[in-house]
């Protein structure tokens, strides 16, 4: 493997690690917890499709309250 290939391989690995860390730490800041009448609770992780629908309204509420 020449030097150029090694650099490209390193950059690719770094990018993948960055995406993973972003998903792990940045998006996990967001979460929606739903509590129901029967005592059950559902927690929607920030990256989930359900949370993606709900979170924008939370952001809008936060903006309105500032």
């Amino acid at each position: 493997m020449d030097r150029r290939s090694a650099l490209a391989f390193g950059a690719a690995i770094g990018t993948l690690l960055g995406i993973g860390l972003y998903g792990r730490f940045i998006r996990q800041d967001q979460r929606v917890d739903l509590y129901f009448e029967d005592g059950s609770m559902v927690s929607l992780a920030g990256g989930s499709p359900e949370a993606a629908v709900v979170i924008p309204y939370a952001r809008e509420a936060l903006r309105a309250a500032q």
Binding site: S40, V54, A58, R59, A64, A65
Partner: protein, 139 residues
């Protein structure tokens, strides 16, 4: 000050985590708020939409949604519903959710209380007629 306004003022006094709160009815009409009118309306609309979207997540056949927390890195939005009234609040990031829910429920119940009617002070009973002299009394 109306009871609902007083309940929200007490809420923001008691809970240092709560930045703003708005109370609205089933139709979305703002009943009380710690925000100026325009922002209170926007906040109530967003909170109502947030609630409606959250209800869809579980489906209509399941148990009813009673409260929710939507956490973001800029802060959290809490929404609590009881009967026809909904209380929504915004907090700083990473709040103590249990405490905030407890404070919101207390405020919601306080706001729903009807004002107690003041009773007029009881009048002293006054005899309408003079007591008759006893027949055959001392002469």
């Amino acid at each position: 000050m109306a009871i609902a306004e007083k309940a929200l003022a007490e809420l923001t006094d008691i809970s240092s985590q709560v930045r703003a709160a708005v109370l609205f009815d089933g139709g979305g009409k703002v009943l009380a708020s710690t925000l100026p009118a325009e922002r209170a309306d926007s906040f109530a609309i967003a909170a109502r939409l947030l609630w409606e979207q959250a209800e869809v997540v579980r489906g209509e056949d399941e148990a009813k949604l009673t409260q929710l927390e939507a956490a973001t890195k800029n802060g959290s939005v809490f929404v609590v519903r009881e009967a026809e009234q909904t209380l929504a609040a915004v907090t700083s990031p990473e709040p103590t959710a249990g405490l905030v829910f407890y404070d919101l429920r207390s405020a919601l119940r306080a706001a729903a209380e009807k004002p107690k009617k003041r009773r007029a002070p009881a009048k002293k009973a006054t005899p309408k007629t003079k007591p008759k002299a006893k027949p055959g009394g001392s002469s």
